[in-house]
């Protein structure tokens, strides 16, 4: 891979890392590890830990994939490796 190819891959991995951190935080973090603690807070009739496990993490997952698709498109164009 030439120099710009290496930079492209580095930018990609950077984006993946950021998204996977959020992915981990909402599901394993808020939905499991900190669920008990978050259950002290309420969102309408939902205890927040329970909400993350059964609703919230799914909404965040959907948003994450679209953010990823959009940002990857930008990275592709920046390094000029996008599809025609």
């Amino acid at each position: 891979m030439d120099k710009s190819g290496g930079a492209y891959w580095k930018a990609t991995l950077g984006l993946l890392t950021k998204i996977l951190i959020v992915w981990f935080m909402v599901s394993f973090g808020a939905g499991i590890l900190f669920a008990d603690w978050l259950n002290n807070i309420h969102l309408g009739g939902y205890p927040v830990g329970f909400w993350f496990a059964q609703q919230g993490s799914i909404y965040v997952f959907v948003a994450l994939i679209f953010i990823y698709a959009k940002k990857m498109g930008e990275i592709d164009r920046k390094f000029d490796v996008h599809e025609e």
Partner: protein, 603 residues
């Protein structure tokens, strides 16, 4: 119109639609047969993926499981959706760029080895075949319960329908029928949920209803449910975890990795025209899946509350649940209970002979509950409810009109058939493309390969039907195994093939085998060698769940970790992959130059 006739009409109309689509979408080339010609838009593919993914288990069983498990059931919701993030970020776009028909072909080419692709074929066939058994039994069950025909007839009809559109149309026929099936199943799932949410909370959106106050009384729905189930000796709904926090963590991770590694799902992303489309298509798939998956927990909690309200009149009045008058009289139980008792999914046994139904947790360790039950003269729980009822009988429990019940019947069949078709395609393409063309007869003409694909498909349907008719005793445990295999063998091999340029064939093969074997070893220890009863060897591993309390269903992530470690160690001591493979990895990583998916094995 009576209920039976309405159901026949709904199911018949949906089947006619699938067949019409099949005739319209016939496959004339291998490209159409394996990847629907490669020109499917990201939204359409997302919708087809959602139907492909949501099986009889998602449609019929999941809400019931959550209903029983409470908060812990969230592991299915997070696991089966979070996997799409992994799929979108780590696998789908790169495999699309690679641009070949099947998953084993990627593994074979990337690891420059027919052994590697053959190992992948074995993993794929095991995972997909175990999965398809569940779908065929699901078809039989749905038919027998709703249409009043025998299980066998149901499976034959199901086989016939799948045969028409899968053999004629391959991926092309399957894609467009899956779109239709998605529409049927999502209406079938959400319509009753909207009715019930409206009825209980006044909010028509189930996702909001679950977090709202009840129409009757001034409590929130979840508060009410918590107080009722705790009072009856069950675990608190919003906090009861699945085993332990560690087990729930690992189980969720296993389902995520397994979801991302299931070949019949990955394959769907070969049908889109570009790498960018593969990325956004995963997002659309998850949107369509999320509609059902965020409704399911509402269905679970509301059905549970409805059920308790039905059998104990004090639930609605917030009176004493243990008062004599509170338990309903057995003879006055609603008609739907009688109907489902005939199927054996609902059982009532008057243990204390008082002619009333007591539904509570008699295994509780809560001394208060034990004392109250004793004082009331309760002699054990008298109602056994199979979790599958929660969705299937939900409209009846909530007293919804007949057409809603008919819709649920058509939806359950759509969910089972669409997943079965996707799995059958994964199986038949592994046989015709990876084995027949890849290993035995590389010079086969396109026309003959297409024929081989159709024959393999017909053969797979017969095998799946046979297994559905004669379900091996292990049918129940097998879906967990499919996820375990996908997580421990296929996912790590594909991921390393993309993210590690230096991973070589020795490492990948050793990793796949190690992950697969350790997972099988742990599962078989609990469930018996090849699920044969009496061959469990729990003593050998030191008792059930001996690995940090992790259940066998949750073990896939551990298998995957094992796969990664073994692969990297073996890779260190063997020679690095040839130059052209490292170039192949570089080209897979960049979108530029993506082309139509094809089947050639040369590079």
């Amino acid at each position: 119109m009576d209920l039976q006739a309405t159901i026949y009409l709904a199911v018949g109309a949906s089947f006619a639609l699938y067949i019409a689509i099949a005739i319209w979408a016939r496959a004339g080339s291998t490209s159409e047969f394996y990847v629907a010609g490669g020109g499917v838009g990201p939204r359409i593919n997302g919708m087809a993926t959602a139907a492909d993914w949501m099986s009889a288990a998602s449609f019929i069983s999941m809400a019931g499981l959550i209903s029983n498990m409470g908060y812990g059931g969230g592991l299915f919701l997070m696991g089966w959706t979070g996997g799409y993030v992994l799929l979108a970020l780590l696998l789908a776009p790169y495999l699309r760029k690679f641009g070949k028909f099947t998953v084993p072909q990627f593994i074979g080419d990337r690891y420059y080895s027919k052994t590697a692709s053959t190992v992948a074929v074995v993993c794929l066939l095991t995972a997909s075949l175990t999965y398809v058994i569940g779908q065929m039994t699901g078809v039989g069950v749905a038919f027998s319960r709703f249409l009043g025909v025998s299980n066998e007839t149901g499976i034959y009809v199901g086989m016939g329908i799948v045969f028409v559109y899968a053999v004629l149309g391959g991926m092309k026929g399957i894609t467009y029928t899956q779109v239709a099936q998605y529409v049927v199943l999502i209406f079938a799932y959400t319509v009753p949920a909207i009715f019930i949410s409206m009825h209980l909370t006044g909010n028509p959106i189930p996702q909001l209803g679950l977090g709202s106050d009840l129409v009757a009384g001034d409590m929130s729905l979840l508060q009410k449910l918590d107080s009722v189930v705790v009072d009856l000796g069950f675990g608190q709904y919003t906090t009861t975890t699945a085993g332990s926090t560690l087990n729930m963590f690992v189980y969720t991770l296993s389902l995520m990795i397994g979801t991302a590694g299931l070949p019949h799902v990955i394959m769907r992303f070969f049908t889109v025209p570009t790498v960018a489309a593969a990325r956004s298509s995963a997002g659309w798939a998850l949107v369509f899946i999320a509609i059902l998956y965020t409704t399911a927990p509402a269905v679970a909690a509301m059905a549970k509350l409805n059920l308790h309200t039905t059998v104990n009149t004090a639930v609605a009045t917030s009176g004493d649940l243990y008062a004599v008058e509170s338990s309903i009289k057995a003879e006055a139980r609603p008609e739907w209970m009688n109907r489902w008792e005939k199927t054996g999914l609902l059982k009532f046994e008057d243990k204390n002979g008082d002619g009333r139904i007591q539904y509570y947790n008699d295994k509780t360790e809560n001394p208060e509950v034990i004392a109250k039950a004793e004082a009331a003269g309760w002699k054990g729980n008298e109602l056994t409810v199979n979790p599958d009822i929660i969705v299937l009988a939900n409209p009846e429990i909530a007293l919804l009109p007949n057409w809603v019940i008919a819709l649920v019947a058509a939806g359950g069949l759509a969910a089972a058939l669409s997943t079965a078709a996707g799995l059958l395609l994964a199986i038949s393409s592994a046989i015709s493309h990876d084995l027949v063309k890849g290993v035995f007869n590389p010079k086969i003409s396109e026309k003959n390969e297409l024929m081989a694909g159709k024959v393999a498909m017909a053969f797979s349907i017969l095998v799946a039907g046979y297994l559905g008719l004669n379900p091996p005793g292990f049918a129940a445990g097998t879906v967990a195994l499919a996820f375990g295999i996908a997580a421990s063998s296929l996912f790590p091999a594909i991921m390393m093939g993309i993210f590690s340029k230096k991973m070589n064939k020795e490492g990948a093969i050793a990793g796949m085998l190690a992950g697969l074997l350790i997972t099988l070893f742990y599962v078989f220890a609990h469930k018996g060698l090849f699920f044969i009863k009496g061959t469990e060897y729990l003593d050998l591993i030191g008792g059930p769940n001996s690995f940090f309390g992790i259940t066998p269903e949750a073990f896939g992530a551990v298998g995957a970790l094992f796969n990664f470690i073994v692969a990297f160690v073996v890779d260190k001591f063997t020679k690095e992959p040839p130059e052209h493979i490292q170039h192949l990895v570089e080209s897979v990583r960049t979108p530029r130059g993506s082309k139509a998916v094809d089947g050639s094995h040369a590079h």
